[in-house]
């Protein structure tokens, strides 16, 4: 590969790479505001000016191609002077309202002001005023004074979301971001602009003023909004999820996620209606019970039915581990009626990220065995057989069957035994004889397999009673780490819930002693040793960005 010199280091580059890209690959970071690896080059902020030998003027590293033998100085006096000058220019009209700005703590401008600013300003005039708190669309507020006119949001909207809704208006230092006349900034991906805005000019209505960033911990997770399985970070303070942001993964979601996934996949974790502890029906009412007595009760009850009178319902919202243990449990009882419902929204998809399958793990649930065994009934016929009275006991994990349709709800009332694992109260738990509290995807270890056969990990970001944040290696915020008086983690609510695989394993141990797992890894090891597509895998290999399973063409998702 050809080589050029950056600050005395020999740096390899691919022809066609700019100075900034090639340097970045070599671990040399050149300051930038407007440049973004996933967007076109606009070259407007000028913070990336660098000195290149034999060139008459400084050049911008984001648009200048590296060439063989080129000698670049990113720390020379000339470069630093220009960088300081640009910083000074950006800051003269900036409101400097970091103390009330959501971006503070993850702000590029703030970061560079520390590392490249002069620390003082020669500007003694009155700052320009611009529009503040402009609602650009349903989710985003814009602060014109904080905006540094880098055009990232405009380019994102046009180039990535394919929705040309944003533009600059006015000229010179009156330039401001706006929507085109009659347009709203309402495409399905708007909130990504909040992430890529290098300052706090764009804020997420849902998160605005909720927390300083350093008060939150962030944990790698996977979005459960559809079968894409966008990689995310889950931001938690006081055991409450405050926001989700996308995590870069070029195999899955590039650096983006959709607004629906970002806004609507975590609130149920924080919700008031969480199932907190185990419930048994007494005299027609669900009453809180000890987990052990619920397990005793359930084990005893299940034995009263013939295996063809029992059905199990898994879930594409639950992990591979949960579904695997469910399938194994069913098999140990000789039950062949096992399946899970699909949640397909026909037509609700695009060629960017959004998929029609609104669950994160259909592929995984099927692979680990949640499908009718031999002549067992499929989901639809399980429901019909309940209606006709052939199936008398139903065991459901993490699905709200009664809410799918009125007919389903009516059918469930005909059962002699309904056992449900659920994280939240819903129409199905209202009909159940036993309700086990299952932890959500934010509270457990596990794996999902996305539409493309890529297996990806989730990790606990929120503690439940069974978790210990120190022992379980959970991430902590900057404050928590130091054990400061601000560490209020223990003050947050801790729900008494367990992973479905864990509940099932306890039940199985009690019933027939066929299964015993203490950790999600153990379940996964069992999956890896018994299911072809998972052969040889462990959590470390899946890693933070997942890995593609070896899927036989014949079973690739339709």
């Amino acid at each position: 590969m050809p080589i050029f010199i950056v600050d005395g280091h020999q740096v390899e580059f691919k022809p066609g790479q700019t100075i900034i890209e090639a340097s970045r690959n070599a671990g040399i970071s050149i300051p930038h505001f407007c440049w973004h690896p996933k967007l076109s080059i606009s070259g407007n902020c000028r913070i990336c000016l660098v000195e290149v030998e034999k060139m008459p003027k400084l050049v911008i590293a984001c648009s200048t191609y590296a060439s063989e033998g080129m000698v670049v100085h990113t720390k020379s006096e000339k470069t630093i002077d220009a960088r300081n000058a640009v910083m000074e220019f950006i800051l003269i009209n900036h409101p400097l309202d970091c103390p009330i700005c959501d971006e503070a703590g993850e702000c590029k401008l703030q970061e560079y002001a520390y590392s490249h600013g002069k620390g003082e300003s020669r500007f003694e005039e009155i700052k320009n005023r611009k529009e503040k708190r402009v609602q650009l669309g349903p989710h985003i507020k814009f602060d014109g004074e904080r905006c540094i006119s880098c055009s990232r949001c405009i380019r994102f909207s046009d180039e990535i979301a394919h929705a040309n809704q944003l533009t600059f208006r006015n000229r010179g230092d009156k330039v401001t971001v706006t929507t085109f006349p009659g347009e709203l900034f309402d495409n399905p991906y708007t909130l990504n602009t909040v992430d890529i805005c290098p300052v706090g000019a764009l804020t997420n209505n849902d998160f605005r003023f909720k927390s300083r960033v350093w008060e939150m911990s962030s944990t790698d997770s996977i979005c459960i909004g559809c079968s894409r399985g966008c990689n995310t970070e889950m931001w938690v303070r006081n055991n409450e999820i405050l926001r989700l942001t996308p995590r870069k993964n070029d195999e899955v979601n590039s650096a983006w996620m959709c607004d629906n996934g970002r806004l609507n996949t975590f609130k149920f974790v924080n919700a008031e209606n969480r199932i907190d502890g185990t419930y048994l029906r007494f005299n027609g009412f669900l009453k809180k019970a000890e987990l052990s007595s619920a397990i005793n009760f359930t084990a005893k009850k299940i034995k009263e039915f013939k295996s063809n009178e029992i059905a199990f319902i898994g879930s594409a919202y639950a992990t591979c581990e949960d579904n695997f243990v469910l399938a194994k449990f069913a098999k140990s009882l000789g039950v062949q009626n096992i399946d899970f419902p699909k949640h397909i929204a026909l037509g609700d998809c695009d060629d960017i990220l959004i998929m029609e399958d609104k669950t994160p793990n259909s592929f995984g649930a099927e692979l680990v065995g949640v499908k009718p065994i031999n002549n067992g009934n499929s989901f639809e016929s399980i429901i019909t057989n309940i209606e006709s009275g052939k199936i008398k006991a139903l065991y459901i994990i993490d699905e709200d069957i009664a809410s799918i349709s009125d007919k389903y709800e009516k059918n469930l009332t005909k059962l002699d035994l309904l056992v449900v694992h659920s994280s939240n109260e819903n129409k199905t738990t209202a009909l159940a004889d036993v309700v086990f509290p299952s932890s959500t995807y934010a509270e457990k270890n596990g794996t999902f397999v996305n539409f493309n056969g890529r297996i990806q990990r989730i990790k606990p970001a929120v503690t439940t009673e069974e978790m210990d944040r120190a022992l379980d290696g959970m991430n902590m915020s900057r404050w928590d780490k130091f054990g400061t008086k601000f560490d209020r983690w223990m003050q947050g609510r801790r729900v008494d819930a367990k992973s479905s695989w864990n509940i099932l394993s306890m039940l199985s141990l009690h019933l027939n002693g066929k299964m015993k797992y203490d950790m999600a890894e153990e379940v996964f090891a069992d999956i890896a040793s018994s299911i072809e597509e998972f052969k040889g895998l462990d959590y470390d290999m899946v890693g933070s960005k997942g890995i593609n399973l070896k899927i036989k063409e014949s079973i690739k998702v339709k």
Partner: protein, 440 residues
């Protein structure tokens, strides 16, 4: 001396008068030669661009790729918005057909089938005149498909007027192209240059109106004839637009390389009431100003003016007499560039406003000597660091006016002033004075 761009022929803007004076003969002559020959002749003639940078026209044309599957374009720049420039307008008014003939010769030379003539929006009257002339040219078979029949050749091209919408920045070649494409008038980051990737991503040449209007005469009279007119390294004539404190302001076509003093005192008949000259801006408001007491011997061509510390620009000579308040002049100029900055890149967007605000503060009597240094430093921080040359255009007047007239500017400032702290957060950070009370 013979005038090239604006010949002294009455009613030359009538097609029949133009034809009886050899109209479209140059194009016929051009057709008998290869495009490369034409480019070569223009190169050898020494014709340099009249739009500001005085770049060799023939050389620019030679950058156009010879083999490309994309269409090629010519853009003719008649945005003419620089304060002190009002010369292209004269071409529209008095010699539109020579401009049209220059356009088709250039199209032939560079292989373009379409040319756009970009005229500033405020020139309503001249846009109408030009549109009329273009329609006449189409009617008579000098443009469009019917050219083929008229000239008995396979070549034809179209010429369209694009009307600007009132932004100076659209005179900058790359924002001109964006503007034609229907986008905001934002300059593009270069490279790629227009000859590689111009209008709609296709190879494009951009020349000033006056540049193009010179072309027919170079072809008809030969490059040697042209190269001997005026200054050797910058031959031909210029349309000097003289304004300000002179007795006879106006547009004069004269050879390059004439004495600046001749231009002011003979051509424009000197200064009203025989006042002294304090300052001359020789090439349009963005060029570095010259001191009135240092004009002796300065010649009006690109090389000589460069040596004298300025530039030929578009040849708009602005003369200021001894009574002129240069602070007010500088404020007016700076206001212009502040107002016209497109706002795309940081140094120009932020710096132009900063300079104007500081100059206003000085005018209000609240400036110090330190502010003059600050202004120079801000100008230097803009210069060379921007996307387009408007940054330099805004920086140079400030930097050079203050440097060259420091004596006068010192009179506008005091040594000590108490600035009412308008920006508390900032001022808190840069003084050793007691902290401003933020709660006041």
């Amino acid at each position: 001396m013979e005038r090239i761009v604006l010949p002294d022929i009455p009613n030359l803007n009538q097609i029949d008068v133009y034809l009886t004076n050899g109209g479209f003969e140059s194009f016929k002559k051009a057709l008998s030669q290869s495009p490369d020959d034409i480019i070569d002749q223009v190169k050898k003639s020494g014709l340099r661009g009249r739009g500001g940078a005085a770049f060799s026209a023939g050389l620019k044309w030679s950058f156009m790729p010879k083999t490309t599957d994309k269409p090629k374009y010519l853009c003719i720049n008649g945005d003419e918005s620089e304060p002190g420039s009002f010369k292209d307008r004269q071409v529209f008014e008095d010699n539109p057909f020579q401009l049209i003939e220059g356009a088709i010769i250039t199209c032939y030379a560079i292989g373009a089938k379409v040319a756009y003539l970009y005229i500033r929006g405020e020139y309503h009257k001249w846009i109408k005149l030009m549109q009329k002339a273009i329609e006449v040219a189409y009617d008579r078979g000098f443009l469009g498909e019917s050219m083929k029949k008229t000239f008995g050749n396979d070549f034809s091209c179209d010429l369209y007027i694009h009307k600007g919408a009132g932004a100076y920045i659209c005179g900058e070649e790359s924002s001109l192209m964006n503007s034609i494409e229907g986008y905001r008038g934002y300059p593009r980051v270069k490279p790629p240059f227009p000859a590689q990737k111009g209008l709609w991503g296709c190879p494009t040449t951009i020349n000033n109106v006056e540049t193009i209007t010179n072309v027919p005469k170079i072809i008809s009279n030969g490059w040697e004839w042209y190269s001997k007119i005026g200054a050797q390294k910058h031959p031909g004539t210029l349309l000097y637009g003289i304004s300000g404190h002179v007795n006879k302001p106006g547009v004069y076509e004269l050879p390059t390389g004439i004495l600046l003093t001749d231009l002011i005192f003979n051509t424009a008949s000197g200064i009203p009431n025989n006042k002294k000259v304090k300052c001359v801006i020789p090439g349009g408001s963005s060029m570095p100003p010259l001191r009135g007491d240092q004009l002796e011997g300065i010649r009006m061509d690109a090389e000589s003016l460069k040596e004298a510390g300025s530039a030929i620009g578009i040849g708009g000579v602005m003369v200021m007499d001894e009574d002129t308040n240069l602070l007010k002049v500088l404020i007016r100029i700076t206001h212009f560039y502040h107002h016209e900055s497109c706002g795309q890149c940081t140094p120009c967007r932020e710096g132009t406003g900063w300079m104007e605000k500081t100059l206003h503060r000085i005018l209000e009597g609240n400036g110090t000597s330190k502010d003059l240094d600050l202004l120079i430093s801000v100008a230097e921080n803009i210069e060379g660091n921007t996307v387009c040359a408007l940054g330099d255009a805004a920086a140079w007047p400030v930097k050079f006016m203050i440097q060259r007239f420091r004596d006068e500017f010192e009179q506008y400032v005091k040594n000590e002033v108490t600035i009412p702290v308008p920006n508390k957060v900032h001022s808190m950070r840069n003084t050793s004075a007691p902290l401003a009370n933020l709660h006041k």
